[in-house]
């Protein structure tokens, strides 16, 4: 492929350099660059430049041209960097001074192009691509390019500024890499072992960071901080400590200033510092700075800082405790009785009195709490009991219930019906289920959750969160009254919710029932409650819901209910439920206009089949499912049907120890019987049809199953082929098999004629014109399944998306001068 591409390269270069041609779209140029990258990484780059002189000519002509397009120039800059990534290549470029012409923008044919962000970005990317060896660094430093990069660090384009930062970090990192310091110990090496121009380059960069941090210009400070955090996370010693010493003073100023808009970036810097050896040395004040950001909890910004500090992974414990105390303050303040309120700071009270800041603070408080709960954080100064009570109180306030003692607070009025806080609070309440210490609050917790489920005002998204929280609390530790709670309290609410006007609510309810049934699988009490409560009939009626998504969820819920009840053979309703479910599900599979319910039906069959106890009951429907599912419009229904086929194969064949090389006679019979069973189910029709499907994943799956079958049939020596004859006429897939079969027969016949042999066993068995019936093992041999599988594992667009195809497209677009006006989407 590469040789084909290389032969096309000169022509492609000519087209790209031709200013009369409109440039290919960005994606084509990016793909071309990807190909160069791959080529370069695979082979010796020098060969490429030497054997393809067109590349140097192309680069030179693009830079000199007075009509170069920005996209082409940007591409050329990136390409040049890529090609100059080894010293030999760099010398080739340098021979004619080409490298300077490429990266010195004054040398370009059109200087204005620098105004285009894509050109600036290409310029930086080119240098980044090139910076793989000392000479490249020498080139950058020697030509004063550091200054330009530093300017670009404050570029108006986000992408350019970001790339400039990356390049600067790469330069700093490169300066301290072993090959730059003449092999001396990196950590211990001092700047004195570096070339003087490199030393000045590194100090230029570091000075720029210090200057940016001391600047009055906000965007410049931000960029400086971003570069600093990048350096801290990407560079090693001695860079980080040298730089840190220099920036410490302006950094302290910024921290103490406490500007809201810098908090996030400052925390990122300090987070990066936490991961470095700076943390262990007190003179670097990392911990001190973080603490200073928190202050004494009396600044508006400290809550945001605390929320960020709580999330830090490597945070010192003392600091985390302080941050935790601060971030829980808003939650406590809102739910505290007035007498205790005196101690709460004025700033916080003021913040809570305004709606926007009140909601935002409480959400920060709640999500930090959830975060801490995920790690089962041990609270010290405040009990988890009291925290959970506060969350419960907050949730009650959100739904309009408030103790009279708190009625005076502004926060209450802000919170009524606030979905954001409700969702966040419910998430937190769910997360708190990991603490066993609060199990005694379970009654209150379920009380609040039930209120939410019952409330007609609950938003669909809030109900979904409520279901999640209920599930977490039920699953975490089943309690004695659980079944009573489920059948007396929960089920009646769920039945109502399944008739909700909003499809989102109906769907979430059904999803919850499915999850609950799965979680409590094997719990006989639950299954009994499910059947005696009338819930099953509501589930069955949901199969006819107007919304496809809901029907799909109902199918899953019914499927799970059937599985659960299958363990309870004593229940009379079991067989009735299965019969009814089967009828309705088959109706959905054959008639439903939407894919989701049909997918769900096939999935339900698969999960039933996995549980062995249901096989006999399902046998009658299986062939219909395989046939309907295999000819479905929707590719995922087809995929799920093949998964069902796979389970069916595994289930049926596990009786045969097919892993053993030679089957005993009874095993062979069993295997033959299994294959006959598959034939009767229509499994082969499904597999062969799917093999020639228009959707690649379907073909791939079918091919894999057929390969498995082929292995098994090949391993079974005395398989009775006459019992496994398939009719290839009148089948969709038959034509293709017939065609291949005839081709093979013809090829054999012509070989026989050439060799003077007349007739063979196969020839007499099945003449060229008698191809109506072919045995399964023969079909599996005829089809070149290995070759098909190899092709199918490739991406469906591997031919049209190959580098050669790309180059051909670029060339043909150049020849095809007429512009086609087609729709843009």
């Amino acid at each position: 492929m590469d040789s084909d591409c290389l032969s096309l390269l000169p022509a492609v270069c000519l087209v790209l350099a031709d200013p009369k041609q409109s440039p290919p779209d960005d994606t084509s140029l990016e793909k071309l660059l990807d190909w160069f990258k791959e080529l370069h990484s695979q082979s010796d780059g020098q060969v490429l430049l030497q054997h393809q002189p067109c590349l140097l000519e192309f680069i030179s002509s693009v830079c000199m041209s007075k009509t170069t397009d920005p996209a082409i120039l940007s591409f050329t800059l990136k390409l040049t960097g890529l090609l100059a990534a080894t010293t030999q290549e760099l010398h080739l470029f340098d021979e004619g001074g080409l490298l300077v012409n490429v990266f010195e923008r004054e040398a370009w044919g059109v200087c204005d192009l620098w105004e285009d962000a894509s050109v600036r970005s290409g310029w930086l990317q080119g240098l980044l691509n090139m910076l793989k060896h000392q000479q490249a660094l020498g080139f950058i430093c020697g030509n004063g390019l550091i200054k330009v990069i530093l300017q670009l660090q404050n570029d108006r384009s986000l992408f350019v500024a970001c790339l400039a930062n990356q390049l600067l970090v790469h330069i700093l990192n490169f300066l301290t890499s072993p090959n730059m310091t003449n092999g001396s110990d990196v950590v211990g090496s001092s700047e004195s072992s570096l070339r003087p121009d490199w030393v000045s380059a590194s100090s230029e960069i570091m000075n720029a960071v210090v200057e940016a941090l001391s600047s009055e210009d906000h965007p410049q400070v931000l960029q400086g901080l971003r570069l600093l955090s990048l350096v801290l996370s990407k560079c090693g010693e001695p860079i980080i400590s040298t730089l840190w010493k220099d920036v410490l003073v302006p950094l302290e100023v910024l921290v103490n200033r406490g500007s809201e808009s810098l908090i996030q970036t400052l925390i990122t810097v300090l987070e990066a510092a936490l991961g470095t050896p700076l943390l262990s040395q007190s003179e670097y004040k990392v911990e001190e700075l973080l603490e200073a950001m928190l202050g004494d909890g009396n600044r508006k910004e400290c809550f945001h800082c605390a929320a960020l500090i709580v999330k830090l992974e490597k945070c010192p414990e003392v600091l985390k405790r302080k941050a935790t105390d601060i971030i829980l303050l808003p939650l406590q303040c809102v739910s505290t009785q007035p007498q205790a309120e005196k101690e709460i700071n004025v700033v916080l009270k003021e913040q809570l009195s305004q709606k926007a800041s009140c909601i935002s603070l409480l959400m920060q408080s709640l999500s930090s709490l959830a975060q801490l709960a995920h790690t089962k954080y041990l609270f010290e100064d405040i009990s988890i009991h009291s925290i959970t009570s506060s969350v419960l109180l907050l949730l009650r306030m959100c739904s309009g219930h408030c103790p009279t003692s708190l009625l005076h607070s502004n926060a209450f009025t802000h919170l009524i019906g606030c979905c954001k806080v409700q969702r966040c609070g419910l998430d937190t309440l769910g997360a708190l289920s990991v603490y066993e210490e609060i199990l005694d609050l379970r009654k209150d917790i379920f009380g609040v959750l039930l209120d939410y489920l019952q409330s007609p005002d609950s938003h669909a998204t809030v109900l979904k969160k409520t279901f999640q929280a209920v599930k977490r609390w039920i699953v975490c530790s089943p309690f004695p009254d659980l079944l009573q709670f489920i059948s007396h309290d929960l089920f009646p609410v769920l039945e109502k919710r399944m008739c909700d006007l909003r499809w989102e609510v109906r769907d979430s309810t059904l999803e919850f029932i499915t999850q609950l049934t799965t979680a409590l699988n094997g719990n006989s009490g639950f299954t009994e409650a499910l059947h005696t409560s009338g819930m099953v009939s509501v589930l069955l009626s949901s199969l006819a819901d107007a919304e496809g998504y809901v029907r799909a969820s109902a199918v899953a819920a019914v499927g799970e209910a059937v599985t659960a009840s299958s363990h309870q053979m004593v229940l009379v309703s079991n067989s009735k439920l299965l019969d009814e479910a089967l009828v309705q599900m088959m109706a959905i599979l054959s008639q439903d206009t939407e894919g989701f319910p049909r997918r769900a039906v096939v999935q339900a069959f698969t999960s039933w089949l996995k549980g062995s106890h249901l096989i006999t009951a399902l046998e009658l429907s299986l062939s219909s499912v395989l046939s309907l599912g295999g000819s479905d419009f929707d590719w995922e229904v087809k995929m799920h049907t093949l998964e069902l086929a796979e389970v069916l194969m595994e289930k049926t064949l596990t009786c045969c120890p097919y892993a053993v090389q030679n089957f005993g006679s009874s095993e062979e019979t069993r295997f033959t019987q299994a294959l006959i069973k598959f034939k009767n189910f229509g499994l082969f029709d499904l597999l062969f049809n799917s093999l020639f499907d228009c959707d690649r994943p379907v073909c791939e799956k079918a091919c894999a199953l057929l390969v498995k079958l082929r292995t098994l049939t090949a391993e079974t020596a005395d398989l009775d082929n006459s019992l496994l004859v398939l009719n290839v006429c009148g089948n969709r897939w038959g034509d293709e098999v017939q065609r291949r079969y005839l081709n093979k027969q013809q090829a054999k016949a012509s070989v026989s004629v050439t060799n003077g042999v007349t007739g063979s066993d196969e020839g007499t068995d099945c003449g060229l014109h008698c191809t109506k019936d072919i045995s399964l093992p023969k079909i599996l041999q005829i089809l070149d399944l290995d070759d098909m599988q190899r092709m199918l594992t490739l991406s469906s667009d591997h031919v049209v998306n190959s580098p050669r195809s790309l180059m051909e497209d670029i060339l043909s677009a150049a020849q095809h001068s007429e512009e086609n006006i087609v729709d843009c989407y």
Binding site: P24, D25, T27, S28, K31, D116, A117, R156, S157, L158, F159, V160, E350, Q354, K355, A356, R423, A460, T461, K464, E504, D507, S508, Y549, T593, E594, G595, F596, R599, D632, F633, W635, E636, C694, D695, R696, P697, R732, M791, S795, S796, D797, H798, V799, V800, S805, L806, E808, D809, S812, A813, Q815, H816, E818, N820, I821, V822, D823, C824, Y825
Partner: protein, 554 residues
């Protein structure tokens, strides 16, 4: 934040958006939505119109299918994620104002383009932005033209796909399309139209359906995908979103109940005789359209009509480039002998349409997106010239700063109002703006206008006097005292209602203005008149200096 580009990399944002209004169901606008809400973790509200909410999952499922087809099931959103994302969507009605939070509100306007497409007005206080998404200013077979009221946004962010194009009559293109399809069918050929499952496909279906009816044609028309059944269902359901003609016809029959267009089974592709098939995907890169194309490409009687853009790396792109030999899997080649036609039924506003929208909305600034830089540059100049407003066209990742003139509500102290009333003039009226003087105190997130005295008192500050001085030279052949006397007399006659004093220490005082006269011994006739006044009398001080510059009456 409105819409996103499908490239996921853009979603690594630092600031979480407050809400996501989504303009329409095309994948370059909604393709990353499940990624953002289910994988990145955006948990806020997503707003879209009812048809967009209904149709979006179909397109996202299609997108998922194409991606899985290419790459397999790797790091891509699942069907469950699409559903979960859709559950978070808040559906909107046109012209309904939705209050996102205390300050932010959004409102949707009809955008044409595709079923359910909307433009959004986003408002915070008195400042607003209109984001058009994709829109169409000319009605087509099934949709009406975009419309917006004179909302005078601070910025109008408009798509500019056809920034320099002026589209010719769509009727001609439609006639051309029908003629080509008819000719092919008449000579027994098959016509393949690769389409995106929704949008243009429905328009072309209406076109063919009507033509078939009129001409009493018998050749079958098929629509290949299962998705389209559901899509047509939604077109029927949301018929009120289509144009007036379709809505009127609805009384007799639903325009989307196609009599001649039937579902396609892949075995039909081998049937002899003519037929027309709409098949997905539109770029001929996989699936059914590609399978049919491979079967029909070798026959010159057949025809392929490409109505949509095709990206590089697809068979469709090659066909549009005029390639006649295509490499297929396993180094096989396919000769393209069938006729290839390109049709444009674009649903984007052209240059005239964009100008029309600006005229409708009367924005204070324009911002062009979703177009090619060169064409945008041309349109930008035209807009700036014709409407005398600033027009911006930032590249991806660039920030544009626009200066706005917001009206900020301020509380005025009662004392100040009373004082203003005492000065006379009409009573305060919300509709008649007038100037008021006072001191603005910005404290505790509130703004108050109070009298300077009250401000000083509240803030515990002492008053500093600031005086302006000015020297005026004039020739007057009298003594300094006489000149001052003449000034006094002159001012007395000009400023009749003011109190003017001639103080014995050699000064004339008018309100806070102090006037002195000096001259030098060398030039006794050249008088230097020194004027000094406090800021309260700035107007009078300026007037007097101008008056005295003109000289004294003889």
């Amino acid at each position: 934040m409105c819409d996103f580009h499908v490239r996921f990399s853009v979603l690594h944002y630092e600031v979480s958006p407050l809400s996501v209004p989504l303009s329409h169901f095309h994948l370059d606008h909604c393709g990353a939505l499940p990624y953002m809400s289910e994988m990145v973790g955006y948990d806020g509200p997503i707003y879209m119109t009812h048809p967009t909410k209904a149709i979006c999952p179909i397109l996202l499922e299609d997108f998922r299918k194409i991606t899985v087809d290419k790459k397999g099931e790797t790091n891509f959103f699942t069907s469950q994620m699409i559903k979960d994302c859709m559950k978070k969507v808040v559906p909107l009605n046109l012209h309904q104002t939705v209050q996102v939070d205390e300050e932010l509100e959004i409102k949707a306007y009809y955008a044409g383009h595709v079923l359910g497409a909307a433009m959004f007005q986003i408002k915070v206080g008195s400042e607003s932005v209109v984001y058009t998404g994709d829109y169409n200013m000319t009605p087509d077979r099934h949709l009406g033209a975009a419309w917006i009221d004179k909302c005078r946004p601070d910025i109008l962010i408009s798509e500019s796909t056809y920034a320099t194009t002026i589209r010719d009559s769509k009727r001609c293109r439609e006639r051309d399309f029908l003629k080509k399809v008819h000719e092919t069918v008449e000579r027994g050929g098959k016509v393949l139209i690769p389409v995106f499952a929704l949008g243009r496909a429905q328009e072309l279906c209406i076109l063919l359906e009507t033509f078939w009816e009129r001409m009493n044609l018998k050749a079958p028309i098929y629509f290949s995908t299962g998705l389209t059944e559901k899509a047509n269902h939604y077109y029927k359901l949301f018929i009120t979103w289509t144009n007036q003609k379709i809505r009127k016809t609805f009384v007799q029959r639903n325009m989307f109940e196609f009599k001649h267009i039937k579902a396609f089974d892949r075995s039909y592709a081998d049937n002899p005789g003519p037929m027309v098939v709409f098949a997905t995907p539109g770029m001929l890169h996989a699936g059914q359209s590609l399978q049919i194309f491979k079967k029909w490409a070798g026959n010159e009687k057949n025809m392929l009509i490409m109505p949509g853009y095709c990206v590089q790396g697809t068979v469709g792109h090659k066909i549009l480039n005029g390639q006649k030999k295509l490499e297929m899997e396993g180094r096989a080649t396919l000769d393209v002998k069938l006729q290839v036609e390109y049709m444009s039924f674009s649903a984007h506003a052209d240059a005239i349409g964009i100008m029309q929208l600006i005229r409708m909305a009367e924005p204070r600034n324009m911002l062009l997106v979703h177009g090619e830089a060169k064409k945008m540059e041309f349109l930008k100049d035209k807009i700036e010239q014709e409407f005398s407003i600033s027009c911006y066209m930032p590249a991806n990742g660039e920030t544009t700063t626009v200066v706005t003139n917001p009206s900020v509500p301020v509380d005025i102290s009662l004392n100040l109002l009373k004082r203003e009333m005492a000065l006379g003039g009409p009573l305060p009226d919300a509709k008649r703006p007038r100037t008021m003087h006072g001191t603005l105190i910005m404290k505790d997130n509130s703004l108050r206008l109070v009298s300077p005295e009250q401000a000083l008192k509240e803030l515990g500050l002492s008053e500093h006097q600031l005086r302006f001085t000015c020297r005026v030279q004039l020739h007057d052949p009298h003594s300094d005292t006489d000149t001052l006397g003449r000034i006094y007399t002159h001012l007395k006659s000009v400023l009749k209602s003011y109190s003017i004093q001639h103080v014995p220490d050699g000064t004339v005082i008018v309100e806070s203005i102090v006037i002195k006269v000096t001259s030098s011994a060398e030039e006794p006739n050249l008088k230097v008149i020194l004027l000094s006044w406090s800021y309260q009398d700035e107007e009078l001080g300026s007037f007097l200096s101008t008056l005295l510059k003109k000289g004294l009456p003889s």
